[in-house]
Every structure is written in C-alpha cells, then in structure tokens.
Symmetry: C2
Subunit: 461 residues, 2 copies
C-alpha cells in the first residue's frame, strides 16, 4: 500500500499531463519488445492517461502497445478512449482481455461503450456480461440516445420515508455488496417509489440514530425525468450545483441516479461540440485519419464556397465601376472583413448565451438593441479611421465618405444579424452553433460589398 | 416540510429554465409595488434562478426588484450573480440585507465575492464577518488569483492514519457543528499533516467500526498544490473524475479541499473564455452596458482592421493587373475566404486540443502533417470546382487554372498556419485562443490575394 501511495504522489508532482518522457519511454519499450519495461511505465498511469497515450501515438504504435501491454487495457481505459479509436482498440485486443475489461465496467459505462457499435459487435460484448448486467444494459439502450436514461446508473440507495438514520445505516452495513461504487446521497422515497428528498452521507454520519430521515432532508433537490436530454441534465447540475440527482420515469418512480462526474463530462462534450460547430468543424478528434478529417471539414467549406460565390456575384454587378476606379477593389475586402468579424463577435456571444439560457424571450429585444448600438458606435469609429485612410491613400475625399458610410452600415447589420440569426435558428430547433456562421458571413459579405460598391457607383462615377 | 417538497417538485416540472411567465410575473408585481406578490414568485426560485432573473431585466427593473424584494437576496444569490452586475446589486441593497447575506456565505464564496472589489468596498464587507471568517478570507486572498488556494474551502475532515472506522465516525458525530456543509471524503493524514489517501463516506458507512482507515483508502487519489492554476485543477477533476481533492501547501501539508462542483464552474468559465476569445470578444456578458461591450469588442476589430489593410496593400500591388482584368476583383475574395475558413477550422481544433492536452510534443508533427494533407485534399477538390466555375463564368481557361492553383496553395497554408500558430503561441505562454485568429487570417488573406493576383499577373497579362 505504502508503495502505491508513493507512486501516486510522485506522479502528482510531475503535473497532470501525460508528458513527453512517458510517451517516449513507451515508444522505446515497444520498439525493444520489452513487455516488462512497458508495464513499469504504464502501471502508475491513470486509466485516463493510458487512454490519452493511445490516442496520441499513431496507429502502428497503438497496435504494438496493445499487443505488448494488453493486460493494462482494462474496462476503465476502454471507457476513457475517444470513440474514433475505441473500435480500433477493441478490434486488436485479445478476446480474453476484452472480455475481462467489459466485465469490469459499471452498466452505464458498458452502455456508453456499445451504444454506437454495429449489431454483431454489440452482441459479442453483451454476451460476455452476466444476465443481470445484460438486462440492465439492454434496458438503458431502450431509452433515447443522449437522454438521462442512457446517462444514469441504475444502482441507487433508497430509503423508505418512515426510516430513521439508524435504519439507513444498518441497511448500508448489511448490503455493502450491492451498493453503488460511488454515491453521495441516500434518496428518500414514498411508498410509490417517488423520491421526496435526499440526505447527504455527511449528514447521515453525523446525526443520531433515532432521528427520522425526513427531518434531515436537504433544502433543495432536483428530480430528473428519464427522457430529459443529457445537455439539460448537465445544465441543471451546473446551474444548481447538484452532486447527484434521482432519475424518475413517467410516473415519477425512482429508476436510477446521475452523479456530477458524468454531468461534468457531458458539459465538457457540449462545449466541445459548440466550439467546433462554430468553427464549422463538426465532430472529430486529432486521432481521426486524414480522410475522415477531410470529410468532416468539407461540408462547411462547401457552404462557405457558395456564400463566397454569392458575394462575388454582388461584386460582378459592379465590374464597370471597378474597371474605372481600381481603388475600390483594393478597399472592398476591408468593409466585408470588418463586418464578418463584428458579426462573428455578436454571434458567438448570442450562441453562448442561448446555451446558458441567459438569452431568453424576456431580454432578447434589449440585447438586439444593444448589438445594433454597439455596431453603430464601433462602426462610427472605424468609419472615421477608414475615411481618413481612404482620403490619404487615394487622395479622393468622396472615396473616404463612401467607405465610411459602408462601414457603419455593415457593422450595424453585422450586429443585428449576429443576434437575430442564431435566435431564429434556435426557435426553429436548429442548433445555432452549427448554422449561424454561414448565414452571418453571407449577410455581412453581401451587405459589405453591395453598400460599398453601390455607393461608389452612385457617388464616384 | 411537505409543502416545501411539493414546491420543489412542482417547480421541477416546469423545466429548469427561468421562464418568461415568471419574469413577467415579477415585472407585474414590481410595477404594482406589490411586495407580497413578488415574494410569492421569488420564494420557490433557486438562488441561481433569482440571480439569472436579475441579470435578464434592465437596470431600472433591477433596482425596483432589489428595493421591493430585498429579503430574497441572500448570500447564495449574491455569489451566483454575474460580476458585471454584482457591484450594482451590492450598491443598491440595504446595508442590513447585505450584511446578513455576507454572513450567510462560506469563506470561499466570500473570497469569490470580494476578490475583484476596490479596497474600501472590500473592507466594508470584511468588517461584517466574524474574526475567524475574516482571517480565513484574508488568508485565501493571500494566494495568487485563479489559484487552487482561492478556489478551495478551508473546512476539511481529516483523520490521523492510526484511526479506524469507528474513530472516524465518532469524530464526525461529536463535531457536527464544525463539519463542512458538503463533503464526500475523509482525508487520511500522516503526523506531518500530509494527506496519504482518502476514504469515501459510502465506504465509511458500510464498513465495520474496527477496520483501520488505511485499509479502505481509494485506489487513486490526487493532491492539488495550493498554487496550482484553477484551470489545471478543473482539468484534473475532469480527467480523473475526482469528486473532492485535498489541497496542500509547499510542504505537502493539508490546507483545504476543492470539490467537484467548484471545479465544474471553473471548467465552464474556461470554456466560455476560450469560445469568446476565439471570436475576439474578450470577457463580457449580456448584462454589460453598451459602452462596456463596445470597448470589449473594439480591440479585436482594430486588429482585424490592421490585417485587412495589410491584405489591401497586397491587392494594391496588382492594381494594374486588376484594371486590365476586372474578373480578378470578382473572384479574389473567394480564394481568401476559403483560406480563412479552412484556417479557422484547423485553428479551432488545435486550440481545443491544446486545452484538453491532446496536442502535445509527442504528436504535434503528425498533426501538422495531417493538417497539410487535409488542406491538400480539400484544396484540390475546390480547385477543380473553382477552376470550372472560373472557365464557365468568364470563359478564360487560364483564369480557371490560376484560381485552382491559388486555392490549393492557400488551403495547404491555411492548414499549416492553423496548427503552427497556436502551438507556437502556446510555447511562448500566450493563450492561443486569444491571438491565433488574427495571425491565421492575416496569413490566409495575404497568401490568398498574393497567390491569386500574382499568378494572374504572371500568366494572364
């Protein structure tokens, strides 16, 4: 035991990051075919770090590590692995190692592991489980994807409402084998199995045996419907600082519980999704192959091509104007680019505020007005700057006026588009992080080029 | 009690979101000066929802709510409030309400509340606290900002290593007044107060009294240095699924603990910071005034103006070419825009991977190669598409060739810039989320215009 602890503390001082030295050590051990040395490096690593290690090396190395160090790949490592390489790892693990790893997992982790697998692969994994576990997994899979039902664990500790603290403690003592691996609350339920509150283990430990459970319930507690989307679950945990929460079915009966560590993972994934979707990247990880990454990025680039061609069509309406006055071609990207950036600013704030439920029907018009005003103020400042640049650079005062007016106009429109487009998409049930960017830049490009070139055609020629 | 529970459950069914009906009800009550009605609406709301409500109304309404419903603004509401309006709220709260609210808070929440305040305001709040609490807060403020020391709570439950389960339970029973409000582990410490492991409360409850504490320690446990940045703390909680972790000083002595709910808040804030910085928004919230928002967004727009002018300077080198061949002005934004988008894609993936420690020295060159290849493949596809568009639209085969070549070149460069720039910034200790965007678009604009117009000048004229 003492040795284990030293290992842990020593590792701690290195910082959390799986560092280069460890990755190199693994590479060397694998290159030398030295299973013992490999074990020495992998042994002190947390499952999450072993998973990261497997994600960071290329697929050739990965295969060698799996062959030489298979025994280190337990259930926990499997459930930490990024989906993109989990299938590959499962394929290359010796059957007996895989079976052990799967048996090792809690039912909610098995669900997470197999929910995206093809039928035959799924069946092969289910076969390994005990009957009780298999039933639990199959029931979880019956709930909609990304729902609380998929996220929850079925093992909970529930106490009838007539129990006192002593009853609950005696129950825990005599059922230690069936207790969840981690739990933080005892849920108190009525005779219909509806949860009516919970008691923290700390309170349970520090309260006399004869006190009724119902008199030490926590002030606030949240019940999660089994069909609730996991993103809402994560929001509730973050908003209300929940540690664990009971999950109930349609009739309000306790069917499982969700703990904050799982909610934190969902929150993290939701953020990742938002940030990647805003950049038009779709899902994807660094471990993906070139062809997969290319495919993920193609659609958004294609959408961008369409919007860019639209902008070009606007420009082509003014070919004659440009031919007479080439300075327009030099300056026009500035107006469009400033609009695009201002639009992205508003858009990002709006998308984030929608995700955190800070932007609602009750304040949307105030925010719209604010965005327009911000566009107006910043637009005016940059209009003056660019007006001066236009005059100084090209010596044509009217050109300065044209670019200034176009700048103000485009920055106001950018502010409005940046908020109205995501709000509208959200109303129609479309994820605003996914689609807003293309719409907003189309608007700012078209407005930017049209305002600048149109004004120029009217005024300069 | 029964009524409270009904309230909670009823509220639950409405969903988590503070809905419009409630905001309207508050507005109506305030307009009518009806304090009783206001209480009826605010009473069942969670502190986090009252805080959201205050953020969503404008500052006139906010003041009226504070006057009429001051008693509902307790410590918890204060600590849930967004910083941008917390100062305003504190200013308008009656002194006695504020004092009660502050006394209500745990020491870590007081720290969070006052760390950004001016000296006199800070002193006014510290004065309200008991001596013990004030000392605790002042000690926390002595740690660096955004460090584990600021985030931790000082109340912990520690057990000497020679205790058995019975000793620990007896200690909890006889010290219930001094226990932290929420705790999930008992930390086991050696005689020097160095933590050597922890025991979950669930294990404590289900184990016989005579079992030594050291024999039921959890497998893995993480110690957090008091000076560690809070972003690293949040990473560790998420990576290793920690629920609570001991915080230690330079000599490894236990000085406090951090719980997952606080780590989750930090993780959420870090994400918000990343997503807003990527869009060049800086800090800021919807509750900010127009002038504040304008100031936050101005710097990035200014940087963008500089990069746009740089791009214009490149274009101006080719004025003669454009004058002879106006189609170039029509098509050139397409090349730049595609490059900008592809660069943003790579950049976002890279920034996110750096944040999650998935992009490290051990795989950076593989990722760079991958980005270049993805740029090459997508660039080639779009080169063909645009080549055809160029020929069909303008009937000049060489124009098609020029745009195709420029497209491939810019997408490869975009992929490289999108990964190399954030990695380099990170190496120099600059947050890649903050500064990468400007660099990457400068590169793709300059390369896009230069390649396209330069090739055109060489080939077409």
């Amino acid at each position: 035991m003492a040795e284990d602890i030293n290992d842990t503390v020593e590792r701690e001082e290195d910082g959390y990051e799986l560092d280069n030295r460890k990755v190199s050590a693994v590479r060397l051990a694998v290159a030398a075919g030295d299973a013992e040395r490999l074990s020495e490096v992998l042994d002190p690593l947390h499952a999450a770090d072993i998973a990261d290690l497997l994600e960071q090396v290329d697929s050739g190395h990965r295969r060698e590590i799996l062959l030489l160090g298979a025994t280190h790949i337990d259930g926990e490592v499997l459930s930490e692995l990024d989906e993109s390489i989990r299938d590959e790892v499962i394929e290359f693990l010796p059957k007996n190692v895989l079976d052990d790893a799967v048996r090792d997992l809690e039912s909610d982790d098995v669900v997470d592991l197999i929910e995206d697998m093809e039928e035959p692969q799924q069946a092969a994994i289910l076969d390994v489980l005990t009957d009780a576990d298999r039933v639990a997994v199959e029931q979880a899979l019956a709930y909609p994807e990304y729902s609380a039902g998929r996220l929850m664990q079925r093992e909970v500790v529930a106490a009838p409402e007539h129990w006192n603290v002593g009853d609950a403690i005696d129950f825990l003592r005599s059922n230690k084998r069936e207790l969840p691996e981690q739990f933080y609350h005892v849920f108190v339920v009525d005779p219909k199995m509806n949860p009516i509150g919970y008691v923290t283990l700390g309170k349970l430990l520090s309260t006399s045996r004869d006190v009724p459970m119902t008199s030490i319930l926590e002030d606030s507690f949240k019940v999660i419907p089994v069909t609730q989307p996991e993103s809402e679950v994560a929001y509730a945990f973050n908003q209300y600082h929940l540690i664990s929460a009971p999950v109930v079915d349609d009739e309000g009966r306790l069917v499982g519980m969700i703990t904050i560590d799982d909610a934190m993972i969902v929150l993290d994934e939701e953020h990742e999704e938002d940030i990647l979707r805003l950049a038009g990247v779709g899902e994807g990880s660094l471990a993906d192959r070139v062809i997969d990454t290319t495919k993920q990025r193609f659609p958004w680039l294609f959408v961008n091509l369409i919007t860019a061609i639209l902008a070009s069509l606007v420009i082509s309406q003014f070919e004659e104007t440009i031919a007479q006055f080439v300075a327009l071609a030099v300056l026009m990207p500035i107006v469009a680019s400033m609009g695009g950036n201002a639009g992205t600013q508003s858009l990002t704030v709006a998308v984030r505020a929608i995700a955190t439920k800070d932007l609602t029907g009750s304040n949307v018009w105030r925010v719209v007005r604010r965005e327009a005003l911000v566009g107006l103020v910043n637009g005016s400042i940059f209009a003056v700057v660019m007006g001066v640049v236009g005059v100084v650079w090209f010596g044509t005062p009217m050109l300065g006026v044209v670019i200034a007016v176009a700048m103000v106009l485009n920055l106001v429109i950018a502010g409005l588009a940046g908020i109205l487009i995501p709000v509208t998409l959200d109303k129609f049930g479309i994820d605003p992080a996914l689609a807003s960017g293309a719409f907003v830049t189309t608007v700012t490009d078209v407005v930017g080029f049209f305002a600048f070139l149109g004004l120029a055609a009217a005024v300069l020629i």
